[in-house]
Symmetry: C2
Subunit: 137 residues, 2 copies
Amino acid sequence: MNNAKFATALHILTLLDLSEGERLSSEYIAGSINLNPALVRKEISNLRKLGFISSKEGNGGGCSLARPADNILLSEIYQAVRQAPLLGRTNTPNPDCPVGKQINEHLNDLYTEAELSLTSKLEHKTLKDFGKKFQSA
Amino acid sequence: MNNAKFATALHILTLLDLSEGERLSSEYIAGSINLNPALVRKEISNLRKLGFISSKEGNGGGCSLARPADNILLSEIYQAVRQAPLLGRTNTPNPDCPVGKQINEHLNDLYTEAELSLTSKLEHKTLKDFGKKFQSA
DNA sequence: TCATCTGTAATAATTATTGTTACAGTACAA
DNA sequence: TTGTACTGTAACAATAATTATTACAGATGA
């Protein structure tokens, strides 16, 4: 997870939340994130396929939230962009060593547990909650 | 944290725990992890500077635990190899946008909270606990 | 004095991530 | 029906992170 995908996804969804239903273009969103529009469209595409966003092509098009923001958990957003375990990769250790043979299994157990600890934390926060932090802006 | 440093560090420390005080060479450890000895020595160097390991140069040298394994928390090992926030980087958003201007601050709060949730989980596990999983091998 | 090992640096190779450009296809509006 | 403004996606380039390799000075004990 050494990338900015979570930050990007949350930024996109926050803008859509605060736009109150009005469709935003990828160009506009990219301007706020300060990121390439094509990258933004890629992340939008991902979030659309997962049902967070609905989008409309063509003139006057853009995207908006497909679900109410108080119904979107930050844990779901994390899952949407998650690619690798939080604590990092494992090695490919020597199977002839008693430790090497077993360690990945034990590491994966630990990684799973760590992941659960994180997601259960993020389950208590909604996109709406996050968006509220910006209302005084 | 898209690297295998945590896995590598824990592997090293587990081997040292199970060797029961006997010094191990970086060559031997590298063989178990299936990693380049120079990389292993780098990680050993890191763990030594942080007080987890003591090492001895020269013929018959090698490294061993500097602290009892039941006194080493997995959270400490995580801290030893931690480089970037768990949930990833932030972007460098547009400061002229009300969301872009504030989002990194809110993201960092969230990242900190997530980090705490993880470390408090890992505080309940010691290197000894982890090593015990291998005793039936 | 030799062999073995650490510690470290320099450098290369590989992979992950981000950025760029291009363009077909959709939708609306004049 | 033509123009304009978008999305969606692919192909590719550039940059950065990660891992691998090699080399060697210095320590240590036999």
